[in-house]
Each structure stands twice: as C-alpha cells, then as structure tokens.
C-alpha cells in the first residue's frame, strides 16, 4: 500500500512538472555587440518583472504564469475603470506550447501574435507583450549582463532589479519596486513601496524616486556627496548627519515672497498642506537626489 502511494505521488509530481514546464517560455536573445552595454525595454507589462545578472553575452527571458492576482487600482476606489479593460473569463487565444508532433518537418513563418516575444536591434532588446485581455498574466525573469540599461513599465506587478549597472528607469503602476545593489542612474516611480540599495553613484547620472502613497526606503553609499530633496506628508528618518538640513519652498511668487531659509518664524507657521521640501546635504552636498512620496514614510540609510 505504501509502495503504491509512493508510485502515485511520483507520477503526480512528474505530471505536475510536465504541465508547469509546458507553460514556461524561454527566449534567448543574442546581442549585436556583446562588448557594449545592453538595453532592455518592456512596456505595458501586466505581471511581475525580475531582473538578474549573469556572465553571458546574451539576454534570457523566462516567462511563466503569474502566481498572484493583479489588481489594477489606478483610481483609488474605482478599480479598472479607465482605458484598461477587465480581463475576460475565457481567453480569446489558446495558450501553451504547440504539440511538437504537429510541427514535425514544418518551418515556423510567424510566431504567435499574442505571446511574449523579443527583438534585438543595436544591443537594445525590446520585450513585446500581448495586449491586455489577450493572454493570462505572466511574470518574467530577465537574465542579462551587469552593464545593462532598463526601461520597464509594469501594471500591477512588482519589479525587482538586482546588481545592474546602467540607466534604470522603472514605472510600476501599483506594484512595489525593489533595487538590490544597483549602480548608475535610477528613476523609479510607483504607487507602491520602493526599497533600494544603491551600490555606486555616477556623476551626471541622476537618482529620483517617487511614489504616490508608498514608503520609500533607500540605502546610499556611506561616503556619498549628494544633496537630497525630500518631500512627504509622512515621516522622514535618516542615520546620515541631518544637522544641515534646510526647509525650502521653491515658489517665490509676490504673494509668498519670503525666503524660508532666512525667516524661521514663517517655517513654524507653514502648514502641512503647502509645498515644502527638506534639502539635506550628505557629506557636504553634491548632485541632487529627489525622493518624493505623498503619504508614505521616507527612510534614508547609510550603506557600506
């Protein structure tokens, strides 16, 4: 009886693996000039995106069915109301791999129009995704060389980037953004949380993080020379020396023509509803780093 159970369990496992592996797509894209940095673009993607680095001169994209339900809540209390149609119960197109027996001796002259595909031109890999409603939500995992620039837009899913050195541009509408040990320029925007560890900053490569109502938690190099522009209606914390912070107000109209830097009393009177930015120089100041969230907290930490 026990042996029979083991056999059943093994067969079940085998069957499950076969079903799962059938729904995992892997694309490998060679770079035109492997000596030069790569660039990856994925626009309007519904699902999570994870970017990892490898030591090879190609980009590999693995897509699999999303394991989490995406919620497109772009209007607060009015989800999925704008241009984004709701996902249909029944998909218009059959998904999954084609039966190999059916294509024996045949040459593919067109890939499926509603599957994830990628094309490369001058080291830029563009990942094409099916229109909303034309396929199930999928998560993608991208393996790429360290020197890569990213331009990723995701709706509903999280974006996770590891060890990349390049220009990183992410808009995650509703998902969280996580950046682990990244270098170069970072421009990140979401309605969720942003957690980031910046390994190295480069002069002339800006860092800018914004969220509508999520928390922003950024770890910066300990010795960084930068000036933070911080704005939130929530709380702000740091373990950097905050002694030289200044509250500034950018607009200087005739009506509110006082300079907050020179008029401390007005700062006390300034109400929370008004434009106020905390300018915090780190290690003497330097290039601007902008961090803005409407209602979440901001945490700025010293890294290594």
């Amino acid at each position: 009886m026990k042996t029979l159970f083991k056999i059943h369990a093994f067969l079940l496992l085998l069957f499950t693996s076969a079903v799962i592996s059938q729904d995992i797509d892997t694309l490998t894209v060679n770079l035109s000039d492997p000596a030069k940095p790569a660039a990856i673009k994925a626009d309007f993607f519904i699902g999570s995106i994870s970017v990892k680095t490898h030591a090879h001169n190609y980009v590999m994209i693995i897509s699999r069915p999303s394991d989490k339900k995406m919620e497109l809540n772009l209007l607060g209390d009015h989800p999925i109301e704008l241009e984004l149609p709701s996902l249909p119960d029944k998909l218009f197109f059959k998904e999954g791999k084609t039966d190999p027996k059916k294509i024996e001796g045949l040459t593919q002259i067109q890939p499926a129009r509603f599957a994830i595909s990628a094309n490369e031109e001058e080291n830029t890999v563009e990942i094409n995704v099916p229109p909303i409603g034309m396929s199930k939500n999928r998560d993608i995992e991208i393996w790429t060389p360290v020197k890569t620039s990213l331009n990723l837009k995701s709706f509903g899913g999280d974006v996770n980037v590891n060890d990349i050195d390049g220009e990183i541009e992410i808009e995650a509408f509703g998902g969280n953004i996580t950046l682990n040990s990244v270098s170069g320029a970072v421009i990140a925007n979401t309605q969720g949380d942003i957690n980031g560890t910046i390994k190295n900053v480069t002069s002339g490569k800006p860092l800018s993080f914004s969220s509508f109502n999520g928390e922003i938690d950024i770890t910066l190099p300990r010795q960084i020379n930068a000036t933070l522009d911080l704005k939130s209606h929530g709380e702000i914390y740091t373990d950097f020396d905050a002694g030289k912070r200044r509250v500034t107000r950018k607009a200087k109209s005739e009506k509110v023509g006082f300079d907050l830097e020179e008029d401390q009393e007005k700062i006390i009177e300034l109400q929370e509803s008004q434009e106020r930015i905390i300018e915090l120089p780190l290690n003497g100041g330097g290039e601007k780093i902008s961090i803005t969230t409407f209602s979440g907290n901001i945490y700025i930490r010293k890294g290594k």
Partner: protein, 275 residues
C-alpha cells in the same frame, strides 16, 4: 540681492585672491554650506585652471629685431646732439646728460613698460577672457541642456532639468522646454522635476497658468497632488481653482480628498494673513 547672488559676484575676485580677509572667510563658509554655489565655483575654478594651462607665447624674433633697430636709430640721431645748457652739477650733470645714460635710461623705461604691459596686459586680458569664457560656458551649457531635454533617455532629460535650475533667469526657450516637459514628458519623475524647476518662476502669471492647466494632462495622482500644493501656495484665489479641479471626471479618490482637505484648511488664519 540674496547671499548666493552676492557670493557669485565675488567668485572671480576670490579666485584671483583679491578679496579681503573678512570676505574671504564669508565666501569660504558659504561655499562649504551651499552646494549650488560650490558647484558654480568649482566650474569657474576649472575654467581658470584651464587658462593657466594655456602657454603665453614668447615674444617673436621680429619684435626683438624691431626693438634693436629702433634703439640703433635712436642712438644715431642722438649721438650728435650736444647739450644745449649746462647745469651747476658739473661732471655729474654732464654724465647724466651724456648720450650713454640717456639711451640706457630710455632702454630701461622701454623694458619696464614692455614687461609691465606684458604682466598687466595678461592679467586684464585673462580677466576679460575669463568673463568671455564664462559667457561662452553659459551658452554652451544652455545649448547642452536644451539638447539633453530632447533625448530619449529619461535620465538625460532629468539631469537637464536639474542643471536648468541653476539659472535665475531661465529664458523663454528653456521655460518653454520646461512647460513642454511638465505636460508631455512620458516619465513621471521628469514631469515632477519640471514642475519644481518652474516654481521659482511662479511670479509670472503665464508660468502659473501653464502649471495649473497641465493638471488635466497628468496621469499620475502624485503629479496632481503636487500641482494642488502649488496652487495653494502660489495662486491668489486657490479656492476657485480647487473647486474647478474637484469636478475633474474620474479623479483619483486620494486626489479628491486632498483637494477637499486643502479647501478646508485654506480658511485658517495663516492663509488669511498672507492674503
């Protein structure tokens, strides 16, 4: 004139070591505390150092030949001149009026004038060159910024907007570019940076109008919140504008709540005092 403007006027004398000790300390302190002035001063120093690397050309051989020919001609014409009068200084006066001393004195004067001219001329021309270079640097930077604002890379466009903030007077071209970025840039953070770069120009009615009318084009609730904050601070009649914006169809719940919260708080004593 604010502190930064005063320091900017003193940057070049400070670089030349011409500031008094009191000013010197004030400038040094300000440069330590103000990252923007520090950056500006660093750039000017770089230009100055580049100037120092420029080699001053040596006087040409033709200049030396000309000098000698003038000297020879002068000697020839004056060897034959006799003293017209004698002074009671005897031999000393006759020595002074001897052609040898007169030629030597003339030569010394010419040499002193030559080197003084070289020295002071260099100093003045360096200063003029520095001013010209500063102007050219500004023009180049302006062109570079305008060019970067049109790049496909969001980080380039963002960096261009950060650089544009260093100008007190943006100029029409840059102001237009910032307004375009505020309305149409596909990246939220670039639009946010453009909004903040325009805010120092909020005393201009057309800038305020451009910011307020960009509200409808903002797809991000964060940008709409930022514009609402701007309206509350810079407009003379924020209530009227906020009531109009509140009627915007399909407004994000959080944005609508922020408008309502501001409408309620605009009636506080602080605001009425400012009005």
């Amino acid at each position: 004139m604010n502190a930064c403007e005063k320091i900017k006027q003193l940057m070049i004398p400070h670089l030349l070591g011409e500031t008094q000790s009191l000013h010197h300390h004030q400038i040094e302190n300000h440069l330590r505390e103000c990252p923007r002035c520090h950056e500006e001063f660093t750039q000017i120093s770089r230009v100055w150092n580049k100037l120092a690397d420029v080699q001053v050309p040596a006087p040409s051989t033709s200049l030396a030949n000309s000098f000698h020919s003038v000297l020879t001609q002068y000697q020839r014409s004056h060897w034959e001149i006799k003293p017209t009068r004698s002074l009671p200084l005897g031999s000393l006066s006759s020595l002074w009026f001897s052609p040898v001393w007169r030629v030597a004195a003339a030569a010394v004067m010419i040499i002193i004038t030559f080197f003084s001219g070289l020295y002071f001329g260099n100093a003045f021309s360096s200063r003029a060159q520095l001013a010209q270079l500063q102007s050219e640097l500004d023009d180049t930077r302006r062109l570079a910024i305008m060019s970067l604002m049109k790049q496909s890379s969001s980080s380039d466009r963002l960096q261009a907007i950060y650089w544009s903030e260093q100008w007190q007077e943006s100029g029409d071209d840059m102001q237009n570019a910032l307004e375009q970025a505020l309305r149409y840039d596909p990246n939220t953070n670039v639009r946010l940076a453009a909004l903040r770069a325009l805010q120092p120009l909020a005393h201009q009615a057309q800038v305020r109008h451009a910011i307020v009318t960009s509200f409808d084009q903002q797809t991000s609730p964060l940008m709409q919140i930022e514009i609402i904050d701007f309206i509350c601070m810079a407009e003379d009649a924020p209530e009227k504008i906020l009531l109009q914006l509140k009627e915007t169809p399909r407004l994000h719940t959080g944005v609508r709540q922020h408008i309502e919260w501001n409408l309620k708080n605009l009636k506080t004593p602080f605001h009425s005092k400012e009005n």
